[in-house]
């Protein structure tokens, strides 16, 4: 029988994407499992705001790891954790931190290239060294979903930017990434090109107003996650319900 990692990796099928409805704690994990999910993914933003911190590695790493461990112990299905920038720009320390994350029982993580607390994204050569160090530290049975934030950070997504996205995707693949995550990439023609030119399963975020999942599936997407939107919608609902009860 395949392990949780193999199960999770096999769910990434271009054209028939794994849908991840992002969670933040054990309770939300239980709700999403009950909804029929095949895997779970945390979002760093909801984990942060649910617990009173701003996003961007303000959640103490020990809290993030303890939260991941509690979720793993509460559910049967694979969990991947949004680990932001692995809490270090140093490849070695980032690798050690990801090894600690693997010890919680999580089968994978998101690992992003933005400069947390700063401007823009890390130079490609540094990001490649960071990913390679993580791969060395976690071994083969861990799904590194390498994320680029260049589309997120850009005002417009033109062909030149897609060129850079493709360059990063290929370099991340060579460095040992298991998947490629491009938040805010959306336009089906551009999605198709990234799918064609990068040899990794592609993950997009379903944001409010995003194309239908079928459109992205047809463009070859292998994984669709929901980022901060489930938590945001839930808190909006809670606020309305509380208003009714209180007024």
């Amino acid at each position: 029988m395949p392990g949780k990692f193999e199960t999770f990796a096999a769910l990434h099928v271009p054209g028939d994407p794994l849908v991840l409805y992002n969670i933040w704690d054990v309770g939300s994990a239980h709700a999403v499992v009950a909804a029929g999910a095949r895997a779970l993914a945390t979002g760093s933003h909801p984990v942060a705001v649910a617990n009173g911190w701003p996003d961007g590695q303000n959640v103490p790493i020990d809290f993030a790891l303890a939260n991941a461990r509690r979720i793993v112990q509460a559910v049967e299905i694979p969990l991947t954790v949004d680990f932001e920038g692995a809490y270090s720009t140093s490849p070695t320390v980032g690798g050690e931190n990801c090894a600690r994350l693997k010890e919680t029982g999580a089968v994978g993580c998101n690992f992003e290239d933005q400069v947390i607390g700063g401007e823009g994204v890390h130079p490609l050569d540094l990001q490649v060294r960071r990913i390679a160090a993580i791969r060395e530290a976690v071994g083969n049975d861990f799904f590194i979903n390498a994320r680029t934030d260049i589309v997120l950070k850009a005002e417009a997504c033109d062909d030149a930017l897609i060129e850079e996205v493709v360059e990063r995707g290929n370099a991340f693949a060579d460095a040992g990434a298991s998947g490629f995550f491009v938040p805010r990439l959306s336009e089906p023609g551009q999605v198709e090109r990234v799918v064609r030119e990068v040899p990794l399963p592609l993950n997009l975020i379903a944001f409010p107003g995003a194309p239908d999942k079928k459109v992205w599936a047809d463009a070859g997407v292998a994984r669709i996650s929901h980022g901060p939107f489930p938590h945001r919608a839930l808190m909006k609902t809670l606020e309305e319900m509380a208003r009714q009860a209180i007024s």
Binding site: A31, A35, V49, P230, A242
Partner: protein, 248 residues
Amino acid sequence: MSKFETFARLHVAGEPLVLFNAWDPGSAQAIAKSGARAIATGSASVSMANGFADGEAVPLELALANAGRIASAVELPVTIDFEGGYSTHRDGLVANARRLAETGAIGCNFEDQVVGTDRIYDIVEQVARISAFRQGVGDNFFINARTDLFLKAKPAAHDHLLADQAIERALAYADSGASGFFIPGLSDLLLVERITSAVSLPVNAMHLPGGPARADWASAGIARVSHGPFPYMAMQEWLQEEARAALA
């Protein structure tokens, strides 16, 4: 006016403070935005959100850290459902109560069941426990003394005799330093009124889906209506439906 004083004054018999229970800083902020005047946690909600059973299975350190984060995340007064204070002896209660007050919370629920058993402390024991708790938190802290008499008995057994036992407890709890009296599980409004008429402490009822309306609680002399685990459970149901739609 301090947060504690603001909170204490919100307890008005016949015009109840409504508390829609939170479990983490995010839920507390959402409830604060809805126009709430104070924030209360529910221990069952905190337990479920973090993967523990209710009944002090949430480690004390996690419970206190969560309380501190909630108190820092909102401007409103925060009261914490602190179950049985995580101790069965006096020194432990004094110490835990002090630590709870240090989180920035200005009040708590403190119950009279022996956590993890079917037993309720007898009055003498519980009075000593409340007085230890008061010693730990000082004067500026709202101890909402809860009796579990009505949760431990079937609704059919909620009668005058049980109400009179509750009244006896409320009077003793008031003398030992309680600020409020909490009667979860009781929905018989005549019995509620019997209690509120006999007790000087503000009385807290727990709202149940399908239970008495707020106006009915108000008419029965209730000063505070809280929602226990029900907001959390409703949110879980909502999230599950949203997830099912997204995953389909």
